[in-house]
Amino acid sequence: MDMTGGLRAAPTTRTVLDPTDERSAAHREPLPRPAALDGLRVGLLDISKPRGNVFLDRLAELLTERNVSVRRYAKPTFTKPAPMDLRREIAAECDVVIEALAD
């Protein structure tokens, strides 16, 4: 029998209080989408789900036909967020990234 009714010990560590002077935003808005890819460096990020590469291979073909420069990246595993180093690498080398989920 559920003796605890509606109230449970909630995970209490998911909300934290901001220790800063709160002058910077807690959330950042994504940059606006570019109108065109002309002259931009495009990253294709495979999150390592099966067959994501098939989708990205085709995207790479189509972009290359349009003279867009493409760089390929892959997360080590789809089950975890991209490692910080990979995020920094993409940020340094690309203007736009297309992250593909295929399954």
């Binding site: 605890t4 009714g5 560590t13 934290v16 220790p19």
Partner: protein, 487 residues
């Protein structure tokens, strides 16, 4: 702490006149008194764990969210209460026939029951719910922005990612932890503690508490942290300059008085080292306030060429009981018996060995020789320093009856440096005092530029020098503040 806020709406369900009981099925005494409750006509029962219990009583209300239990400040179940004219006039806890009969005015209650059975703990005291209930009842005191961590983020990594760490893991400042930290002071969360450089951001008691949680402090350390932040935010201490300089010093704290002992600070063996939570986390909390609230980060406004390991946090207590002298805080104007913090600019600590001197004159000259190296052996009056005298050295001064002032005077005399030794070029070293200034003997330290503290373990004739930074009005001056105002 009394329940406030929560349950005010639920309290509206309470009768102006009549009987109220709070129970839970999990409690054997509550189950025992079920026939008695069924016998009390009109009793309104609030059930903490199972809204169907007790089945034989008609008026049962669901209090699984504990709003009514919190509003009534229930510690024990069963609790039987009597209301008259909209206010509680009487209550009894557990089962005691005479008490229930007196409260209800009804004789012969529960004839088959034993005379007395103690109750059980209310679910409001359930350790599994403590954090949630604390936040529900007191969370409205908190003003800091709430940041939600996503389900995929490791909470420790998430705090690194947000830039809130000094490089070591920090404790996630959950609302419950911050509320428990705030219980360490009677000051209101929104009280102003200081204006923190370099961004000149106002810091409240609550913001200091958030950073004290990050640092790993216990709530009883909070008054010391608050006093240290307050002292560090003064113009005299000049935390901005200390942060921005390319020199490697940072803020250090020495604690005096009963507060140091009551929170278990180390003033003995390894007092300047690792291993004591209060020493380590109080100093760290001050630095995290400067980092997070003030925005003072290495590579930004912190321009130290090298820094030093104590910039993570540097805090210790003076050994007053074993000291031949009055406490440092008393020498600096605080009443004896009062707790105080003194913040001062500090480089890393460096040992001064003298295992031979048994006369105060020799030992003073010996310590002076070590102090001469602060900043540079040929530079004078620019940099302050703190001398931590160990017990085996202090004993030599105590046996000779030397006061702290007498030691200061002897050190000052031994540190009057001759022009030939300090002018530029002397000893084949280009650094030194310009020739036009080196026309007479010059003191190594400005008046008041050398602080003497007593601390350390009982064995080892090894005192320690802690170099400082530029002293005086243009640099950083030690600042002493009483802790009492922040308790």
């Amino acid at each position: 702490m009394p329940a406030t806020g929560a349950g005010m709406s639920a309290a509206g369900e309470l009768p102006r006149d009549g009987l109220v009981a709070v129970v839970k099925r999990d409690c054997p005494t509550c189950r025992l008194v079920e026939p008695v409750l069924a016998q009390l006509s009109g009793v309104l029962v609030f059930s903490q764990d199972d809204p169907r219990f007790p089945e034989s009583v008609p008026n049962v209300r669901d209090d699984t969210d504990l709003d009514v239990s919190l509003a009534l400040d229930i510690d024990t179940v069963p609790t039987l209460l009597r209301f008259a004219g909209g206010v509680e006039v009487e209550r009894t806890v557990g089962w005691l026939r005479t008490a229930w009969e007196e409260l209800t005015g009804l004789p012969g209650l529960g004839p088959d029951l034993p005379e007395h059975r103690p109750g059980c703990g209310s679910r409001t005291g359930d350790p599994d719910l403590a954090d949630e209930l604390l936040v529900r009842t007191h969370g409205d005191r908190l003003r800091s922005r709430r940041v939600e961590l996503s389900a995929l983020e490791d909470e420790i990594e998430a705090l690194f990612d947000r830039g809130w760490s000094d490089g070591l893991p920090v404790v996630p400042p959950t609302p419950a932890r911050v509320l428990r930290m705030l219980a360490g002071t009677s000051r209101a969360p929104d009280d102003l503690v200081g204006v923190v450089p370099p961004n000149l951001a106002e810091v409240t008691v609550e913001k200091v508490a958030v950073n004290a949680v990050l640092a790993g402090c216990r709530p009883e350390y909070l008054p010391v942290v608050l006093a240290a932040v307050h002292a560090a935010c003064t113009d005299e201490f000049n935390a901005h300059g200390l942060l921005a300089t390319t020199w490697g010093a940072g803020p250090a704290i020495v604690v005096n008085g009963p507060a140091a002992r009551s929170i278990g600070m180390n003033s003995g063996g390894n007092a300047l080292g690792q291993g004591n939570r209060a020493n380590l986390t109080i100093g760290r909390a001050l630095q995290l306030v400067i980092r997070n609230v003030g925005g003072g980060r290495p590579g930004e406004v912190d321009r130290a060429a090298l820094g030093q390991p104590g910039k993570v946090g540097f805090c210790f207590a003076e050994d007053e009981r074993g000291s031949p002298w009055e406490p440092l805080s008393v020498s600096r104007g605080v009443a004896p018996g009062s707790s105080a913090v003194t913040v001062f600019a500090a480089e890393g600590a460096r040992g001064l060995a003298d295992q031979i001197s048994r006369t105060p004159e020799s030992l003073a000259r010996s310590l002076a020789a070590g102090l001469r190296g602060v900043a540079h052996p040929k530079l004078v009056t620019a940099f302050d320093a703190t001398l931590v005298v160990c017990p085996e050295h202090a004993r030599v001064f105590a046996q000779a009856g030397w006061s702290r002032a007498a030691l200061e005077a002897a050190l000052g005399e031994a540190l009057l440096l001759q022009p030939a030794d300090i002018e530029r070029g002397a000893d084949g070293i280009e650094e030194g005092v310009p020739a036009q200034l080196a026309t007479r003997a010059l003191p190594k330290f400005r008046p008041g530029g050398l602080m003497i503290v007593h601390a350390g373990g009982g064995a080892g004739m090894f005192s320690t020098v802690i170099g400082g930074w530029v002293g005086g009005p243009g640099g950083s001056q030690p600042v002493t503040t009483e802790v009492t105002a922040w308790t």
